[in-house]
Each structure stands twice: as C-alpha cells, then as structure tokens.
C-alpha cells in the first residue's frame, strides 16, 4: 500500500476550505455550514490527493468522478474546486447570489461538478450509472461519492445499494458522512439509522468505519477500497460543524451560517489555531 507521507498540505487545504465555507455562507446569509465542515477532510483528501482530474478539462471522459449526493454541502465542494483551479476563488463569493453559477445546491452545470444534488437520495444512483458505464466501456476511472447519514433515511439509497452490489461495482467507492445530525436534530432521535455499516454490509457492500477527520485513516480506507472487489462503503464518523467549537455537534448550524461578524472572527480564529 502506498504511504500517505506528509499531510501538511492536506491540513492546510482543509483549513482553507473550512474558512471559505464559513465566509461563503456568511456572505450569502444562508447555506449549510455544519454538514460542509463535517465533509471537508474527505473532500480535501479526494481533491488534493486521490482524484485523477484535470481542471482544464472538466469533461475529460477518463477522469475520476465525485458525486456529492448530499448536495447541500455545496460550499465544501465549491471551495475545493476553486482551490483546485476549476474556477477562480473570487467566484465563491457569488455563492447563492442572483446571476451566479454557484447555486445553493450542487448542479452539474458547474465546471467540475459531476452530478446534481439537492433532493436527497439521488446522487448514489447517479454514481452507480457512472460506474456501470465505466464497466461496460472498459474505462479505468473510479467513481467516488458521498452520501449523508440523514440522507440514508431515503428509501432510494437502499434501492441504489441493492443495485451496486448486484452489478458488482468494484469501481465505486462511497463515503457516508456519519455526523449524527440532520435538520431537525440528532439522527437517532429523528429516525434511528442504527448500525449503518452492518446494513450496507448485509446489502453486499464491502464496508469499513473510520474517523472521517483523520487523513491517515481516510488514506488507508481509500487504499483498501481500491483493492476490494464490489462496491465499498466507508462509514466516516465525523463531527457536524467540525473545527468551530460553537458549531460542533450543534443541529442549529445544519442550515444556518454564523450569524454575526464577531462570531465569524472567532470561528476563523479557531480554524487557524487548529
């Protein structure tokens, strides 16, 4: 297995993305910072270490795909794409504004965005289509996707889970952002999801649970996933609002930006200090 080596670049990029998430949503006076911050380290790892992509050719047929099925985490993906050179960083400050390309939820019209997300439970199916296409066209690209834990309450996730196993999609690697929180509160109070690893495993997926904020664990899991046959589900234990003390594990910040400049400064300081 390839060693991860120095992680200082990944840590720096993750910090930048977290700051951008806070700034973008503050500037837009809306958006979903909580689930963006929980997804940040995985997205950082994929975009700055793993994905075979070319910012100059966002439609390159042989590229790896990444489907953000939990499309409300758009700030995290947009920030990663901007830092990766798909579009200028300044554009991030048009997020959710009139006449901007950067819609509230991810949409495939944006350079670098492989699938639309917003109405939950669709992206996993989209990713399966991309993976099937790779299989029948004998392409060696990989399809990565991220679904939410709240999203896994959608029945269609389980339709998709069944089909990925049925078609033995070895080129499909999915992260489940297990931050334990959804809009109305804690997942286990709203509609308990129970043991998601066991559920996916019984649906025929290869599964593994990791700390979704530890680059070494993310790296090990991806390296493992690339070797295993069949679809892979990496349950990533994460913290909603990760990196900002008053946002962490706080359902209030699912769909609400930091409310004032003072708190914004405090949040950014905390992220820089990390």
């Amino acid at each position: 297995m390839e060693q991860l080596g120095d992680i200082s670049l990944l840590k720096d990029k993750a910090k930048e993305i977290r700051k951008l998430i806070l700034l973008m949503t503050f500037n837009a006076k809306s958006g979903h910072p909580g689930g963006s911050l929980s997804a940040t380290d995985i997205i950082t790892y994929l975009y700055f270490r793993e994905l075979r992509i070319d910012p100059k050719r966002p439609d390159w047929d042989d590229r790896d795909r990444f489907v953000l099925s939990k499309g409300h985490a758009s700030p995290a993906l947009y920030a990663a794409l901007a830092l990766r050179g798909f579009f200028p960083v300044e554009k991030l400050f048009t997020f959710r504004k009139i006449n901007s390309e950067l819609q509230g939820h991810v949409v495939n019209h944006i350079p670098g965005v492989d699938a639309t997300g917003g109405s939950l439970g669709q992206g996993l199916s989209n990713a399966i289509g991309m993976a099937l296409s790779g299989l029948i066209r004998k392409k060696d690209y990989r399809v990565f996707a991220m679904i939410g834990d709240g999203e896994s309450q959608e029945g269609s996730i389980w339709e998709a889970a069944m089909s990925a196993a049925h078609y033995k999609l070895s080129n499909l690697i999915v992260f489940l952002d297990r931050n334990m929180i959804q809009l109305d509160g804690f997942t286990e109070n709203i509609m308990s999801l129970g043991d998601l690893e066991m559920k996916f495993s019984s649906f025929g997926w290869k599964t593994r649970t990791i700390n979704g904020h530890d680059f070494y664990e993310i790296h090990d899991a991806v390296e493992w996933a690339k070797e295993e046959i069949g679809p892979k589900m990496i349950i990533a234990k994460t913290v909603k609002g990760k990196g900002v003390s008053f946002m962490e594990n706080n359902p209030e910040y699912h769909g609400k930006p930091v409310p004032n400049q003072e708190l914004l400064n405090k949040a950014i300081e905390e992220i820089e200090r990390e």
Partner: protein, 326 residues
C-alpha cells in the same frame, strides 16, 4: 374510411388493423442497439415493455434494475452523463408519477440525455384498474423545463419516434399504449414538433394524440356525411407544441376539439387552450378523461364507458358548435 360505427365495441375495434406500439419500440431498440452507446434499463417489466428484446440481444448493455424505479432513473442519468444513450422503461404510472422527483432533478435539471419510454399509458391498461391507468403523465412531464414529450398515434409512428429520440440530444418522455392500437400511418414517418395534418377541413379542427387520432378520423369521416368539413391533426409531439399550426387552424375554423386518453387537466387540451387563449381567443373544447380515476374492465369497454371514442368526439363537436354560435 367508411366505417361509421362511433363506439369501439362491438365492432369498430375489430374492423381496423391494429399493431402494438410497445412491440414496435422493442424491435426498433434492437436495431438501434448496433450503436454501442445505446443502453436500456427496465424495472422488472421488460417482457411487458418489450425492452427484453434488446436485453436478449445486448445483455451487457441491458440493466434490469428490479422493482426500483427511482434508482433506475438516477442510474440512467449517471449513464447519460458519460455519453451513453439510455432508454429507461417502465409503466407510465411508475416512470412519471413515482419517479417525478428523479426525472426532475437527475434528468431535466441536470439536462441529461435520458429517454424515458413508458408503456401502459391511459385507460387502455384495462383490467388492472386505476392504480395502473396513468392519465396524468403528459401534464407531469410537460411541466418540466428541458423536457420533450412525445405521444405517437400508432405503431409505425412509434418506430419513427424511437429513431428520432435516439438522434435527439436531451431529456425526453414518450408514452405508449398497452393495447394494440389502430394503424393510421402507412410508414414510420415521425415529424418532431410539427402537427401532422391527416385530413384538412374548414369547419372544425380536431387535434388528437395517441389512440384518439384514429377515433378522430372516424368522427371526421362520419361528420363529413353530415355535411361538416372537419380537419384532423395528429399531435404526436406534446412539447414543444406546434403553436403555429394550432393558431392557423384556430383562425381557419374558429373551433378546436382536443382529444386525448389523458386527464382533461394538464394534457394536450390544456396546452392547446393556452396557446389559443393567448394568441387568438376562440373556442377550444377538451375531450379526455373528465378528471376522474379509471377502473377495471376491458380496454375498449372502458374507452366506451368514458366516451373516449368517436361518439365522444362527435358530442364534443356538437357542444363546440353551440358555444361558437353564441
């Protein structure tokens, strides 16, 4: 045409050549399947929709998704995003009603090149009853930005329409019947968007779609002998609608009857009414299912019970003539 029976039963339906639209769909898919980019998905209804014909020949490019229609549409969108040309099939009730949000986001908003071809549209599903008789699909699909909506009149036109869909780039929905439907076309000619003038006329215009096109021809022929010159137009493209021809006939005849095996709300009649009222206010009478669910029964018993037959059209024309007088 000389058959002046105005109800399907007991004889009209047996006195005309009928062919299966879904069989025509299946056969055409097999032919188009020589192109490696064509992939076909179904949700456990492939022997009914006839996508199984493709599946038997091109196993590696046929995906039976099981009874999970939402996932089928989402997967089709993913396949399309890589340059493949997916045809996704199920019954109309599932492919549009159950799948609406997937069609909306994964296909239409994402502008993916997915062709949704649904069979078992309308009341002619018959004995299975209202759960399976989809009469809202044209409305649901027409209301979606980026969507193209096709409703061929018979089996030959279906073949042409499938070929068109294969060439066409963008989201599209096509509805087909379960029943063998009367043949009105000699060949597979399908003209996108253009209303097809099957019979010209000066007094009244019938714009019909699907199975009702043949009924309109019978009604027009019957009325000719009563001294009424009725034009019959085939609306095999529901969206985009051919406003130009609609308005030409609104001006020419001042009375349009629309006829469809669909709810009178949100279907062909609504589209035509919108165009006419915005541009040349004149009488449009809608003939279709009167905002009610269907029920079990044989296809043609149902069509007669709900007056989706030539007699129903004649009655609507009589009604229209009264309204126009005022």
């Amino acid at each position: 045409m000389t058959n002046h029976e105005l109800t399907w039963l007991p004889n009209l339906i047996n006195s005309v050549e009928r062919k299966s639209q879904r069989e025509s769909y299946g056969k055409t898919l097999v032919r188009l399947g020589e192109d490696q980019r064509v992939v076909v998905l179904d949700a456990d209804l492939s022997t009914s929709t006839h996508t199984s014909m493709f599946g038997n020949k091109f196993k590696e490019r046929f995906f039976n998704m099981g009874i999970s229609e939402n996932n089928m549409i989402g997967v089709a969108a993913g396949l399309a995003s890589t340059g493949l040309i997916p045809f996704a099939s199920s019954f109309a009730v599932f492919a549009t009603g159950r799948d609406y949000d997937f069609v909306r986001q994964s296909v239409c908003y994402s502008n993916q090149n997915v062709k949704i071809v649904a069979t078992h549209a309308g009341l002619t599903v018959g004995e299975d009853g209202a759960t399976h008789q989809m009469i809202e699909d044209l409305g649901l699909m027409s209301g979606l930005p980026n969507m193209t909506v096709i409703s061929p009149a018979d089996a030959p036109e279906t073949e042409g329409a499938v070929e068109f869909l294969y060439e066409f780039r963008g989201p599209a929905y096509m509805r087909l019947s379960r029943e063998k439907v009367p043949v009105v076309h000699q060949d597979k000619n399908f003209q996108f968007k253009k209303l097809e003038v099957l019979k010209d006329g000066d007094d009244v215009t019938i714009i019909a779609t699907g199975i009702m096109v043949y009924a309109a021809m019978v009604a027009a022929d019957y009325l000719k002998h009563k001294g009424l010159d009725v034009a019959v137009l085939n609306a095999s493209t529901i969206k985009p609608i051919d406003s130009e021809t609609i308005l030409k006939y609104a001006r020419k005849t001042g009375l349009i009857i629309t006829s469809e095996e669909h709810n009178i709300i949100n279907g062909l009649g609504s589209r035509v009414s919108e165009i006419v009222s915005e541009n040349y206010p004149s009488v449009v009478i809608r003939h279709g299912v009167p905002d009610a669910f269907g029920e079990s029964g044989s296809a043609w018993e149902l069509m007669d019970k709900y007056m989706l037959n030539p007699l129903g059209i004649v009655r609507k024309i009589e009604q229209g003539l009264e309204v126009r007088k005022k």
